[in-house]
């Protein structure tokens, strides 16, 4: 395996901050907007984005939740093994809100398709947007694009993009793993 670091350190921090400011441009004080991280890996980014936003907008009430999409996946029984569901924590009303879905990597778009389905169980949002840290371009299986993108990368299908977080992996970074 050959590892290539795509993003880390100061640049990682700047990217997160840019995403936050782009969100503020569109959502002002988040009075009618909520942030929802997609389980399992999107929740770290959603958490980080929320924390940063709270620093920039100390008076705003920014709501953050987690969404598990396991039961909405389209590959159930079509692949080996079983993904264990994670928890869904949405303690607020979604009906009529602007929902910002957050995930770490956008690749085939299938996870987002499932998330769009899953979010309907909680009500009808006014609008749904997508924020991702890494966009693996030209590899979509579905017509899905992100509204806010940290970095865009061109990858082969055999490669993997891993986002690590300070909270769980000691360091904030985005790595591209390739089979040699």
């Amino acid at each position: 395996m050959q590892n290539l670091i795509l993003l880390d350190g100061k640049k990682f921090q700047i990217t997160i901050q840019r995403l936050c400011h782009q969100l503020i441009e569109n959502h002002d004080h988040f009075t009618n907007s909520v942030i929802i991280g997609i389980q399992p890996r999107g929740v770290f980014l959603a958490q980080r984005i929320t924390e940063e936003l709270r620093k920039v907008l100390p008076k705003a009430n920014i709501q953050n939740g987690n969404l598990d999409i396991t039961f909405f996946r389209d590959d159930f029984r079509r692949k080996e093994g079983l993904l264990l569901p994670s928890s869904t924590e949405i303690d607020f009303i979604i009906e009529g809100k602007k929902v910002i879905l957050v995930d770490d990597v956008l690749w085939t778009g299938r996870t987002i398709r499932a998330a769009l389905d899953a979010i309907q169980s909680f009500g009808r949002p006014e609008k749904v947007e997508l924020l991702v840290l890494v966009d693996r371009r030209y590899s979509r299986h579905l017509p899905i694009e992100a509204d806010y993108i940290g970095i865009k990368v061109d990858t082969f299908n055999s490669q993997k993009v891993i986002v690590s977080w300070k909270e769980t992996d000691q360091e904030d970074k985005v790595t591209l793993l390739s089979e040699r």
Binding site: F71, F72, L82, L84, S121
Partner: protein, 312 residues
């Protein structure tokens, strides 16, 4: 990716006997998330939308059948129902023929209740579909045991170390056997209590305590699981009268209040009010009977979901 990939160790759910401790934990963890789903505004997920399930009941049932059917519908499965009383079974068709005919209509899973022990195991050997045992004679009723243990876990945080008394008609009860097996696997202590005639001989070999005095059993336990007197299975008289049974083994508020601790009361249903349990106990806050019913749907969703993934 830190995704956990896990599966059950079995393709059918025929009894608690075949499950490993890890299987039971996996079912509970999955049921936790389904319980969450059941509290959403829209209580349906699309996981089993390409699966057809036949509910075949050769014996009467309200709760179990309704619970299974709801679980299946919440998972978006297609469901067909069949009860023996209104079918060709009364015209002399054999079990295998009946089920094979249903399978010819492309059914993936069969949920079956049958008056004879081992019917599920027999079927699983002859039929190419997944079998879920919803009660076979006086043998096993695995989903009931799972939901009972799940309800205990929900109330106390864990099952390990708890003392559970199973009181009543143990002889005719499939709930009793499945409960004993399940609770033991999870590390609980089990006592059975009832008149000598309704306690099977050699039940001690399962590692349970036997007690014939209701008060002693209640003083020992944390949880009392009251079983129904199954008159429909009793071909001979096991006790002089229902009234006498109820005097000796019926749980009432007076006995409950005389204990020096607060115990939890469970009942697998259907309740015979005034026989094994009085109304004031069944409706008291110590009773978790309705929680058991609620948890039943989540447990059955978890079982169906996990088994569906085993198909190849």
């Amino acid at each position: 990716m830190a995704e956990q990939v896990q599966t059950l160790s079995t393709k059918h759910l025929l009894g608690i006997k075949d499950l490993t401790i890890r299987d039971i934990e996996l079912i509970f963890e999955t049921a936790d998330t389904f319980k969450d789903v059941l509290n959403r505004p829209i209580k349906k997920v699309p996981s089993l939308r390409d699966i057809t399930i036949a509910n075949i009941f050769f014996e009467n049932s309200t709760r179990t059948r309704l619970s299974f059917e709801l679980a299946q519908k919440r998972l978006s499965a297609d469901v067909v129902n069949f009860s023996a009383s209104s079918s060709s079974v009364s015209k002399g068709e054999t079990l295998i023929d009946t089920v094979n005919n249903i399978l010819a209509m492309k059914v993936d899973m069969v949920v079956m209740r049958h008056p004879y022990a081992g019917a599920g195991v027999f079927l699983s050997k002859h039929i190419n579909a997944q079998i879920i045992n919803a009660g076979d004679g006086a043998h096993e009723h695995p989903t009931q045991a799972l939901l009972d243990a799940f309800s205990i876990r929900e109330k106390y945080g864990e099952v390990n170390g708890k003392k559970v008394a199973i009181i009543g008609d143990v002889l005719h009860s499939r709930v009793a056997l499945s409960n004993i097996l399940c609770l033991h696997k999870l590390g609980a202590e089990v006592m059975v209590c009832g008149p000598t005639t309704l306690i099977p001989k050699y039940i001690q070999t399962l590692g349970v305590k036997v007690e014939h005095d209701l008060l002693k059993a209640l003083n020992w336990c944390d949880i009392a699981n009251m079983l129904r007197i199954q008159l429909e299975r009793q071909e001979i008289k096991y006790f002089p009268s229902l009234r006498e049974y109820s005097m000796m083994y019926g749980l009432n508020k007076q006995i409950l209040n005389s204990l020096n601790k607060e115990i939890t009361v469970m009942h697998p249903g259907p309740i015979n009010r005034g026989v094994e349990i009085t109304s004031d106990v069944a409706d008291s806050k110590q009773s978790i009977i309705l929680d058991q019913v609620e948890n039943g749907v989540a447990i059955r969703m978890a079982v169906l979901y996990l088994l569906a993934n085993q198909r190849n």
